[in-house]
Every structure is written in C-alpha cells, then in structure tokens.
C-alpha cells in the first residue's frame, strides 16, 4: 500500500511537470507553425502570375462571417489552388489572433484601435485595415409603442433611464423596456458612438441579448420594448424609428445623412501579399460589392460618399 501511494504521487508530480512544460512550449509551437504558414503564402507570391495557391485562415466577427464565407466560396471557384477557411469567435478573438499571427485575416466590426487598447496598443500598429462593407444600425421599437421618430437627446434619455415611459416622447402610455447588447458588443459600440454619442451604463432590469435574431424576437414580443438592429434584420415584426427625422435607409447611409453606421473590417498583419492580397482585392471589386455584399444586407463600402476615421471624424469623399 505504502509503495502504491508513493508511486501515484510520483506519477501525478511527473505529469504535472509535463503538463506545465507543454503549456510553456505552446507559444513557441504556434509561432513555428505560423511562420510555416506565412512562408507558404510568401512562396506562392512568386507563382501568383501564373496561378494563385495557398491557404488563408480568417476568424473573428460572427456578423461578418456569412459574407466572408460567401465571397470566399466564389473566390475559390475561380482560384482552385486557394483554400480559405472562415471561423467565427467574435471581433476580439479575430483581432487577437491576427495580431499574434495565428490567422491571416481578423474580421472585426470595430476599429482595431478600439479593442486593442492600453497594454495591447502596439499590437494594433502592425495591423492593416481593409474596409469591405458598411453596416447601418437602426433604433427599433415594439410596433405598439406609437412613436415614429426619436431625436438623439430622446434616445440618450431613454438609454440612460431618464425617460421611462413612451408617453414622455409622444407615444402610448407604456413603460419602456430596453433590449440592449452586452457591453463588449460591436453593435452596441457603434450605436453608442454614433446614435447616442455617449457611453451608457447598464441599467437594473435591462435585457441583454447577443444575437440579432433574439433581439428582434424580444422587441417584437415585449410590449414597450426598444432596441437596435442592423438594417438587414428589419421587418414588420418591429417598428423602425427615424433618427432625428432621418429614415435609416441604404440611400441615406450612402449619402451620409444617416450617421449610425460602422465599417466591417478585415485586418491583416502587415501589407497582404499573394493569394491574401488577391482575395482582399477581389472583395472590393464591383462584382462582389454590388452582389454578395448587397445580397447579405450590407452596404458596399465602395459606394459610400463619406468616410470616417478611427476618431469618428466624417469627411465627404
């Protein structure tokens, strides 16, 4: 018995040492495999004049994932030598992984500088931004709320809890129920920056849902609900609210009259080359921008008559 016990302890100690060292090695291993990946990409550059080949790995924003997947399919049809894998995981994951060179493309619905702050700020410096599409977000309410339009100030008051009843903004006598997004959500960041112009704190009793489908269902079913959705999700189950009298339509976004929109970013670590560059260039061709991008409910980035930088300054093109 004595011996048995001892050997077990030994075994445990041994394995934990192995495990720890395995963990320690992880970083090195990753770097090695990634270097290999980069090399193949680089090698492919030389052959690119003849035919593109190589593999591209993209990860990040789940909102952008369907579009990237669809465009990747089409790209691979014509360039059979290229293999493109698209993963989800969220904007933060995509940016982390592209900054650490674990993937070739990091999809994000916010600027990298907004996510990689403080200690991580230098990571954002090496990332190259490719703005492939625009998503506009509209404030929506339950159909019976009885309001067509809200001003910026009214929205701020609602989302900070100063206005608690629809009757205070000219609607039905019905308590307002906020259906929000989690604090880390890109959609919420966009809505707060460009519709409210201020960050809001979560309020006691507010509901938070991550997926747009659930948010739409909740707003459509909950009396007095208010929330926000990307334009592609709008339908008759919810009431779309005008913002300062401006209708959230594709045309108004393109002309710059409707301000609540954000770029969809595809970040690469350093300037892209070879198949990676070809894929991103293909993304910005009219062929893709006027078909796949529009089909999936995005607004083509190439058609925008205004542009916006990281600080949110809008300039007319």
């Amino acid at each position: 018995m004595q011996f048995k016990k001892k050997s077990w302890i030994m075994a445990l100690a041994l394995t934990s040492v192995v495990a720890l060292s395995a963990c320690g090695n992880n970083g090195g291993n990753n770097a090695a495999t990634n270097n290999a990946g980069n090399n193949t990409a680089a090698n492919n550059t030389q052959n690119s004049s003849a035919e593109l080949s190589g593999s591209i790995l993209a990860s990040g924003s789940t909102a952008l994932q369907p579009l990237v997947e669809q465009v990747a399919e089409r790209f691979m049809e014509t360039n059979t030598g290229v293999d493109i894998q698209v993963q989800g995981g969220g904007s933060g994951t995509g940016l982390t992984q592209v900054a650490e060179k674990q993937v070739d493309i990091g999809n994000s619905d916010v600027f990298a500088e907004e996510k990689l702050k403080d200690d991580d700020a230098e990571k954002a410096a090496s990332l190259v931004d490719h703005q492939v599409a625009v998503v506009a977000i509209a404030a929506v309410s339950h159909p019976d709320a009885g309001v067509d339009s809200l001003t910026k100030q009214q929205l701020v008051d609602i989302f900070t809890g100063k206005i608690k009843n629809w009757s205070e903004v000219g609607g039905a006598d019905q308590a307002i129920q906020i259906i929000n997004r989690p604090a880390s959500s890109g959609t919420r960041a966009t809505f707060e920056s460009f519709a409210l112009g201020t960050k809001t704190e979560d309020m006691q009793g507010s509901i938070q849902e991550d997926s747009s489908g659930t948010v739409k269902k909740m707003i459509g079913e909950t009396p007095g609900a208010i929330g926000y959705l990307a334009l592609s999700y709008l339908d008759d189950s919810v009431k779309t609210l005008n913002y300062d009298g401006v209708e959230p339509s594709v045309d108004n976004v393109i002309s710059g009259d409707y301000p609540v929109w954000a770029y969809q970013h595809m970040y690469t670590n350093g300037e892209p080359t070879g198949a990676l560059k070809a894929f991103l260039d293909y993304f910005l061709t009219d062929e893709v921008q006027t078909t796949d991008v529009v089909e999936l409910g995005y607004i083509p980035a190439s058609q925008m008559q205004v542009s916006r930088d990281v600080e949110g300054n809008v300039t007319t093109k």
């Binding site: 075994a11 934990s16 991580d120 960041a189 006691q204 009793g205 509901i207 991550d210 079913e221």
Partner: protein, 300 residues
C-alpha cells in the same frame, strides 16, 4: 504470488500484458495531463488580474458594479456569482420533489409499467440539446411569465424553470437507481410490521436512501451551475443582482459566453471573464467533493 523462473523467454502473453498495461497507463496519463493543464491554464488566466493588481479580490467578489467598458472600468462579479447560485438553488428546489416522486413512482408504486413508460421519457429529456430548452423557454415560459406576473417574463424565474426541466433526468435516474438498489428485506420487514405503503416509503425507504438521492440532487445542481446557453437565452443578462425573480439578471456562464468572443485575449476584461471561469471550475470541484462525501456516507 507466482514463482518467477530465473531465465524466462518473453512469451506472447507477457508481451500482450505489457502492451495492454502501457496502453492503459498512457490513457490515464493523458487524462491527468489534460486535467492538470486545464486547471493550470484557467488558473493562470483567471489569477492574472489579481497578480497584476488591476482588479482586487475584494472588488471582484464584493463589487456589484460590472462596467468593463466604462471610462473608469469596474469589475464586480457579485451579480453573476449570486445569479448563478440563485438559479441553481431554485432549479434544484423545483426539480428535486418532482424527480424523487418520479423515481418513487417508477420503483415503488408501479414497478411493472412505470419504469417502462418513464425510463424512455427521462432518457429523451436528457438527450435534448440545451439550445432547444432555451428556445422553448423563450417561446413558452417567458411569454407565460410575462402575462402572469409583473415584469418582462425574462429573469431568474424563467432561468430556474428551464434549468429545473434540464436537471430533472439527472436527479430522477440517480434516485431511481438508489431506490432500486435498496435491499428488498428492508421493505418486507416494514410491511411485515404492518406498515402501509406510504409509511414504508416515508419512514423506511426515503431516510435510508437519502444520501444517495442527495447525490443526484448535487449532480443536478452541478449541471445547472455549468449550463450556459439555455439560461443565457431566458435570463436577460443584465449585470445586476436582481430585486425580484422576474427581473433580468446574469449568471457566470452567461456573462462568459456573451463577452469572451468580443474581448481580446489578455485584456483586463477578458482576464476577468477567465477569473469567473475559475470560480465555475472551483465550484464544480466542490460539487464533486460533496458527491464523494455523500457516497462515502451512503456506503456505511
């Protein structure tokens, strides 16, 4: 035991024995490595914030304000910890009587067809994916609660109801096994003394099988504590300690699933989520420990 000859040829069964043993040891070793490295990984991420001093222990476990994206961020995890405990305890309170009755029905009341009927139903319940539970909760339970009680239907009550259905099969099957394993002579002596069936169940069967039934309850609670998706869909996810059962609240799992993908690795926000994962993991260990203690008591 066996006398070893001084010089042996390696016979076939010796080699087989050696290969078999090495293979099994390798598997066990792999298991231990996986568990140890998981604990190490979660702990190293989860403790990073406390070591670097970005978040203090008292702020994390005592703070009620969760605002990681605010200009002066605060990382109070109390709303999530309390939310997790609240839904878990409520779910166990709702599910335990139902499951114990179902188990008694299956083994004591009508052992002939009760088991045949209920066993497949319970197996079916445990096989339903959690997203289906969540969706049913969102489409049926939430509207029902919204119409019946004040509030929006979403909240701790909805989460606990969905969870109680999810842990029903766990508790029922463990309890049924425990009841079936009860020595027949205990019951027979009770009947021989003139006790009715109800007296036998309430005075003899339930007290003797109590530790085993509690094992089932604790296993159910462990499942409820770790369940993420179904709860996240119906609980509302507001980072506050709820003032009523019908108000939006959060659990550890729901805040982790909502925030993990949207935050960058290594950021304070992300590490705070890992700290919560560590709390979840430690709680799971605690549940396992309680089950082990109950099992030991059960044997005596």
């Amino acid at each position: 035991m066996s006398v070893k000859p001084k010089k042996t040829k390696l016979e076939k069964h010796h080699i087989e024995d050696f290969i078999g043993r090495s293979y099994m040891s390798l598997c066990v070793l792999l298991l231990i490595v996986i568990i140890v490295s998981m604990v190490y990984f979660v702990a190293s991420k989860g403790l990073a914030n406390f070591f670097s001093g970005r978040v203090s222990l008292s702020e994390f476990f005592g703070g009620t304000k969760w605002a990681p994206d605010a200009d002066t961020p605060s990382y109070g995890a109390l709303p999530f910890i309390s939310g997790s405990f609240l839904v878990t305890l409520l779910a166990a309170l709702i599910a335990s009587p139902l499951s114990i009755c179902a188990a008694l029905f299956m083994t004591e009341i009508v052992p002939s067809w009760g088991k045949k009927l209920l066993q497949p139903v319970i197996e079916l319940l445990s096989g339903i994916p959690s997203v289906v539970y969540g969706f049913v909760g969102l489409s049926v339970i939430v509207p029902f609660l919204r119409d019946t009680f004040p509030g929006q239907g979403i909240g701790v009550a909805a989460g606990a109801l969905v969870l109680s259905v999810m842990i029903l099969p766990t508790i029922t099957s463990v309890a049924a096994d425990a009841l079936a394993a009860l020595p027949q002579n205990l019951k027979e002596s009770s009947f021989a003394l003139g006790a009715t069936r109800w007296q036998t169940i309430s005075r003899v069967i339930l007290p003797t099988t109590f530790p085993a039934i509690m094992t089932g309850v604790v296993l159910g609670m462990a499942r409820a504590f770790g369940e993420a998706l179904a709860v996240q869909m119906v609980i509302g996810n507001a980072p506050f300690v709820p003032k009523s059962l019908f108000e939006s609240a959060s659990t550890l799992t729901s805040v982790i699933t909502l925030g993990m993908g949207n935050t960058t690795m290594g950021s304070t926000h992300n590490n705070a989520l890992w700290s919560m994962a560590l709390v979840l993991m430690l709680m799971t260990f605690l549940f396992v420990l309680v089950v082990r203690m109950l099992e030991r008591r059960n044997k005596i």
